[in-house]
């Protein structure tokens, strides 16, 4: 028995060593000349893959010898995949993602100036450049942006005897109660683990709250945030939201909104094409600024996704990456992507192209007042993870102050 055990251990170790050896060999040896790059792109909707396929074909025709291997990843899988790529040293050359700062901190990615031409660098809108920096240097390449506004169902508002959309939090509650009396859900509140951090911040920023204080330190349990969460809890407890916001995701809210069963909900430019049109193209809805506590100043939640270029093979991939990125960042190629997917521009040259659509224009106009999650802080992804898991419980059993303090502790631990 004992001898067998030793044999098993010995065999196991030798396999482990052999396999570890192979793993290292193949991970770095995928491309020797640096002319073939791997691009991991996020799936925004069914059109995304077709766009990249066509773009890459065009790129390869214009840059003979260079090749781009495309890998499409669903957003639901993205975090897990990216973390695994880094951990197993199989990072792509170019990654389309919503975070970059921990890559920059760990020295994994190029600075923006190393992988795009000065013209492209100068074309990014300053608001987004500020979001793409880590310790004063730009690492992320702004890719798309998005803003959030209040969607309201005009038919339900008329039925409930309401005029326009609410501007203050008190109005939101009153309007929601009237809509409820008219037989629908007043406000659709998705505080489930899918995107609780975006929904919460959309409210908190309009109450003077946020994730960090003026000096950039985590301030998640600040009084303004506690008051915001208490307000959302009060909305939930008074029964004007859909049941159990803590387990609801955005798809469910907007599915019901499109069916005319929810009066108000916060959505983005993609909401019409992605959620409303597939269910009911004729829905009579309007878009308004996010309500604020006092109704004076209305901030918008800005969201930005980035491209990040990973250092590989001692910088051999840089030329291919630069060619590919410069090719993508031509006005024609970027605005085509934005129009196809319903996102807002991050470059000056693509800006004008979108303002012609009245629906999109509302979001483009809201961008200057937008506030962003602190994505340039490398700890943000862990904080967002904690928010996704725990925030919702504050509107069901938990206590807002305690829940926020718990997240604050996580944030301080993460850095």
């Amino acid at each position: 028995m004992k001898k067998q055990f030793i044999g098993v251990v010995a065999a196991g170790l030798s396999v482990a060593l052999a396999a570890a050896g192979c793993g290292k060999g193949s991970a770095s040896g995928d491309d020797s000349d640096g002319k073939t790059i791997r691009f991991v792109a996020a799936i925004y909707d069914d059109n995304t893959k077709g766009y990249w396929d066509a773009l890459i074909k065009d790129f390869q025709a214009k840059n003979p010898g260079y090749k781009v291997a495309l890998e499409m990843v669903d957003w639901a899988q993205m975090d897990r995949k990216v973390q695994t790529y880094v951990q197993t040293k199989q990072t792509p050359d170019v990654l389309n993602y919503n975070a970059f700062s921990d890559f920059a901190r760990d020295g994994l990615i190029y600075k923006a100036s190393e992988v795009v031409s000065p013209q492209v660098l100068g074309d990014f809108t300053p608001t987004f450049v500020a979001q793409a920096q880590y310790q004063g240097q730009q690492y992320g390449l702004p890719f798309i942006s998005s803003a959030r506004l209040l969607f309201y169902n005009k038919d339900l508002f008329a039925k409930a005897g309401l005029g326009g959309p609410p501007a203050t939090w008190d109005d939101v509650k009153k309007d929601a109660q009237k809509i409820k009396a008219a037989g629908a859900t007043g406000y659709g509140l998705p505080l489930g683990p899918e995107e609780a951090q975006a929904e919460f911040y959309s409210w908190a920023m309009n109450n003077g709250g946020g994730w960090v204080d003026a000096s950039g330190k985590w301030a998640i349990d600040q009084p303004a945030n506690v008051a915001t969460l208490t307000y959302l809890r009060d909305l939930t407890k008074s029964g004007v939201t859909q049941p159990n916001p803590e387990t609801t995701d955005r798809a469910k809210v907007f599915n019901q909104f499109a069916q005319g069963r929810i009066g108000m909900a916060i959505g983005g430019p993609f909401t019409k094409a992605g959620f409303i049109d597939p269910v009911n193209k004729n829905l009579n809805f309007g878009v308004a600024p996010l309500p604020s506590r006092d109704g004076k100043e209305h901030n918008t939640l800005g969201v930005m996704d980035v491209l990040a270029a990973f250092k590989k093979n001692g910088g051999k991939n840089r030329e291919a990456v630069r060619r590919f990125l410069d090719f993508f960042y031509t006005a024609q190629n970027t605005s085509k992507f934005l129009k196809l997917e319903g996102f807002l521009p991050v470059t000056k040259s693509a800006g004008e192209a979108l303002s012609s659509d009245p629906y999109m224009k509302q979001f483009v106009d809201a961008l200057p007042t937008s506030k962003f999650a602190p994505t340039s802080n490398p700890a943000w992804s862990a904080v967002a993870g904690a928010v996704k898991q725990d925030l919702g419980s504050a509107v069901s059993g938990g206590d807002p102050k305690q829940v926020l303090s718990g997240i604050q502790r996580t944030a301080e631990k993460a850095g």
Binding site: L13, Q83, F103, N244, Q389
Partner: protein, 310 residues
Amino acid sequence: MDGVTKAGRGASSRPARLPGLRRALAPLPWLAPSLLLVGAVVLWPVVEMVRTSLLDISSSGTTLGGAGTSNYTDLFDEPDLWPVLGRTLLWVAGVVVAATVLSLALGQLLHARFPGRRAVRWAVIVPWAASVLMTALIWRWMLDNDSGVINRVLLDLGVLDKPVNWLAHPAQALLWMMGVAVFVTLPFTSFVILAGLQSIPDDVYEAARVDGASAWTTYFRITLPLLRPSLLIGTIVNVINVFNNFPIIWSMTQGGPGHATDITTTFTYKIAFFDKHVGESAAMAVVNFLLILLMVLLYLRAVRRPGARA
């Protein structure tokens, strides 16, 4: 262990002992393929898991160096850890006991002769043949408060007066998910028991009948003791499977709201991919692994009475 080291030393200093070593190694060529397989798919991952739990891995996934035991101290500082462990034990015990009791009855039914037995046996396999993920997702939509069929039926029957969001309330959600786990565990368990029943020779029952034993006595004094080997195998496999079950809870509640329906496997996943703390997640996996080992050892000790053949 001593035998090997002694033989090894002998090989270098005293050539006379060499045949002994050779005899010890003789079976190796035949065992090697399975040993390699065990090494590659069982031992290597365990080694990697333990190694990862001792590394300092940043939120991006970059290994920064050794972490000592800090991943373990972080893990034991988690306020959610003990509730999660307690819930895991409840989950395992509840699902395995319920599945075994139901399977004993189901096995007996499948063993009995009746018209259409073949069809019933096939039907019992269905939950096993269907993907667990698919089953769990279907249950999740059946339990939906807005469009789920279960609420519809209960409303129409007048049992409920308004829809219940079953999966949003931790206690209800856990019960429903345990129900789903029992449902997917039944086929395997009842077929193991059926196999056990078929291996009991008829003459034992004949002897019991001659001695005038009642049906209950026959079942508890003959059938159940003779089913021991099958029950033992079935329970161990089920304990491990249910303990490590991930898809049911992940697809139905994601362990939420908060951590209220997490078991160790979903908790491990959340630490790695929500909290971005891979090292601590590996530490949780090690704890999980040790717990399973411990439970199986305790169980084996509890059921292995002297003289019992198992």
